[in-house]
């Protein structure tokens, strides 16, 4: 992980979802491969899949550090790696979860509640002078939310790193945007609107 200000992701990142055998030490093998080959990990999330034999690791890789193809081929050599799916950011539906405890005494409480309402987050704990907030959403939306929370004073903050699935094929053909953007741009625009 890099500094907070770059949470939203570097310009050239790529999402790699790696299905691995659910055995001890597998995460260490994946992490170690990245350090050994000089590839940078931007974020990483691990969880079991619906099949208990396997886990899924979602890695956001910095493709400035190495060609994506090389990263995938080296990963594929790990015996415990069963399959790899690469997702370009524009072809992925990405989500992330944020938990934050912010300072919110009686004077600020209303403003924080309002902000959480705008972002469709949840307040999950309230103390005398602080609140804990949860927000799930697209990473850029989480970035925005985090920067708006910051002036209240963040006591603690945790983000999960992103998970992603491929976007589904559309049944209807999408019109090119009037500005002359590609279909991809249009799709991306739509989804990020949704996410916001």
């Amino acid at each position: 992980m890099t500094s907070m200000s770059t949470y939203g992701g570097p310009l050239r990142h790529h999402i790699v979802t790696v299905t691995v055998e659910n055995k001890s030490g597998v995460l260490a093998r994946v992490a170690s491969l990245f350090s050994r080959r000089g590839f940078n990990i931007f974020s990483l999330a691990v969880a079991p899949t619906d099949d208990e034999r396997f886990s899924r690791i979602t890695i956001v890789v910095d493709v400035e550090s190495a060609p994506l193809e090389q990263i995938i081929r080296q990963l594929d050599k790990l015996v415990n790696v069963v399959s790899i799916t690469e997702l370009a950011p524009e072809a992925a539906t990405e989500r992330e979860l944020l938990l934050a405890t912010v300072q919110a005494g009686p004077a600020e409480r209303g403003q924080v509640i309002q902000l959480v309402g705008v972002f469709e987050g949840k307040i999950i704990d309230v103390g005398t002078d602080a609140m804990t907030i949860m927000l799930a959403g697209a990473p850029n939306k989480i970035d925005d939310f985090e920067s708006l929370l910051r002036p209240f004073g963040i006591v603690e903050l945790q983000r999960t790193g992103r998970v992603a699935l491929p976007k589904l094929a559309r049944r209807t053909t999408r019109l090119r945007s009037i500005a002359g953007g590609t279909e991809d741009d249009a799709v991306q625009g739509r989804t990020s609107d949704e996410a916001g």
């Binding site: 030490g25 260490a28 093998r29 050994r36 081929r73 015996v79 069963v82």
Partner: protein
């Protein structure tokens, strides 16, 4: 049948056809050493675990079968880390079994505990920590399968002491389906579309070179490589790892390329318009400065490891697959395009318009005439190491196995030996492990007892692992060792002379300390000393006549001799220095 984990482990090795284990026992591996007494497998007791690892590598090099080493936990395991790293770099199939503290003690910093699966994670192809005795046969079968298929490599199986002692119900996986390797699927066959593209490129090239690497030997593809070269008339360079993959006496053989390659091999690649890389990986010691390497060449790259394709140099045609399989596919694609067996072409086919390679071969021949490897042995002058290598070459059988350490002696051995057969050259290429030669020669002789095995070693290297000659004497393994004793860490000395203004820092070793003859004798070997050119042949003949114990010859060679040609590190291969008196290297 109820067995202990230890019995199941040894029985599994027997089921795998293991004939020899190189090892050294200790506390955590003790239970496994008991059933060895009742096993048909020969155990060779080394004097240091590093020796077990390199011996297993030497055995694998010459037989093509996986070498097996067994050591205890903690320091026993860490002592075999260097051979694992070495085998990983050179794609040597090796199975290392390590003892581990009992599962209940793991993580408590118990006596002789070391997390060896963690330590070796990045230098093994895969490793396993076995936590249930019932898993042992399956894990052993998986370990051998992974070590020997795809791109071969070392694997490690860590066996805690309680797992060795526990009872299990014996079984043996009858097929690959019973292995638990859902993510392991090596691809051996090439993509036919890419193979056809490669065949068309070959038929268009005017200055092609086959760049044969160690993958040719791993794939047992020397015979099909020869067919490809002869049918197309394309010259072949053999990298340090591929010496012997194509006979040095063949008219199309250009020998070794790279930092200390010969002028013709280096320059033919530089001027080439098509490099056909077969089981080679564009190592920095071959390419020199990558951006200046073979600038006009298109590249066909064949490798069993897809991660090698495009790792260093972009390939115009990249084919993931086993070298033997892909070369066979390539030969049939060439037939389809009209290039027949024997190299004749049929009218009206694509092969009929194939450029004549005559001018290219004539150019190559001219380079060979102008820039041969050269040294000068003066009568009564200091003994030249190249003269020792040449005399040894000329007074031993053609199929002698030559094993070297790392440094100047390694380069002279590779340059001046004439390799006629595959699997006759054993050395540490990628890792550059000093001290490799003595134990690797022992492993090679165990694997091929019918062949004469000579280690060509340096004095620095010899001092690192010489104690394994005690193993060789005790086990009656009659290897022969030629020490090219120049009293220096010679390659480092060479670099300090050429690139550090002759400021020699910590490279002097002394020719007499130790006394190599006495040391050899103390280890149960015959020890000989040679100080002049005329003594060389008689000493070698005497060594050749001894077959009941190891022989060590201390050749006192010229400390000022340097390895040429040389491409300085980081330079373009165009800046090759052919010999002293030329360029910056001349002094």
């Amino acid at each position: 049948m109820r067995l202990t984990g230890a019995q199941a482990l040894i029985k599994s090795l027997e089921m795998q056809g293991v004939e020899v284990i190189f090892g050294l026992p200790g506390g955590a591996i003790l239970p496994v050493y008991d059933p060895i007494l009742d096993s048909s497998i020969r155990h060779i007791l080394v004097r240091h675990e590093q020796g077990a690892g390199h011996a297993a590598e030497g055995y694998a090099h010459v037989t093509g079968r996986p070498g097996v080493a067994m050591v205890t936990s903690g320091p026993g395991a860490t002592n075999i880390v260097t051979p694992l790293a070495d085998a990983a770099m050179d794609s040597i199939p090796m199975v290392v079994i390590t003892g581990q503290v009992p599962t209940t003690a793991i993580g408590t910093d118990a006596f002789q505990e070391c997390p060896i699966t963690g330590v070796t994670m990045d230098i093994t192809k895969h490793n396993w920590l076995v936590t249930d005795a019932q898993d042992l046969p399956r894990v052993v079968a998986e370990a051998f399968h992974v070590a020997t298929t795809g791109r071969p490599g070392p694997v490690l199986v860590d066996v805690p002491k309680d797992v060795s002692n526990n009872q299990m119900d014996w079984y043996w996986p009858s097929s690959l389906d019973e292995l638990d390797l859902p993510g392991y699927r090596p691809q051996t066959e090439g993509d036919p579309i890419e193979v056809a593209k490669a065949a068309r490129l070959i038929l268009q090239a005017e200055r092609p070179v086959i760049y044969a690497g160690g993958g040719i030997l791993k794939a047992r593809a020397a015979d099909v490589l020869r067919q490809l070269a002869e049918r197309t008339g394309i010259p072949v360079v053999t990298t340090l790892m591929a010496r012997g993959a194509f006979p040095d006496s063949h008219a199309l053989c250009l020998g070794m390329p790279g930092m200390h390659g010969n002028y013709t091999a280096v320059t033919a690649m530089q001027r080439s318009d098509l490099l056909i890389a077969l089981g080679s990986r564009f190592d920095d010691r071959v390419t020199g400065k990558v951006s200046a390497f073979a600038p006009d060449a298109k590249v066909i790259h064949v490798d069993i490891d897809p991660a090698e394709l495009g790792k260093v140099r972009r390939a115009d045609v990249a084919i993931g697959g086993d070298c033997r399989v892909v070369i066979e596919e390539l030969l049939s694609a060439l037939t389809d395009l009209g290039l027949d067996t024997g190299g004749t072409t049929s009218a009206g086919t694509r092969a009929a318009s194939k450029p004549d390679l005559g001018p290219w071969r004539a150019q190559i021949h001219e380079w060979q005439e102008r820039f041969p490897l050269a040294y000068h042995q003066e009568d009564g002058g200091a003994l030249k190491p190249q003269f020792v290598v040449e005399t040894l070459r000329d007074s031993t059988p053609d199929d002698t196995i030559v094993v070297s350490g790392v440094g100047q002696h390694q380069m002279w051995a590779s340059q001046y030996w004439k390799f006629e057969y595959p699997y006759t050259w054993v050395n540490s290429g990628g890792a550059g492990t000093m001290g490799f030669a003595v134990p690797a020669a022992i492993g090679a002789k165990v694997g091929r007892p019918d062949k004469m095995v000579w280690a060509i070693d340096g004095d620095g290297c010899f001092q690192m692992t010489a104690q394994e000659l005690v193993t060789a004497s005790a086990e009656r393994i009659p290897v022969k060792v030629a020490i090219l004793n120049n009293a220096y860490l010679g390659m480092v000395r060479q670099w300090q002379e050429l690139f550090y203004e002759e400021r020699y820092s910590e490279v002097y070793l002394s020719p007499d300390l130790p006394d190599y003859v006495k040391w050899a004798e103390a280890m149960g070997c015959v020890g000989l000393k040679v100080e002049s050119a005329e003594e060389v042949l008689p000493a070698i003949e005497k060594a050749n006549s001894i077959d009941d114990r190891p022989v060590v010859i201390d050749f006192r060679t010229d400390a000022f001799e340097k390895v040429y040609p040389m491409v300085p590190a980081g330079s373009s291969n165009d800046d090759i220095i052919v010999g002293p008196g030329q360029g910056e290297g001349g002094r």
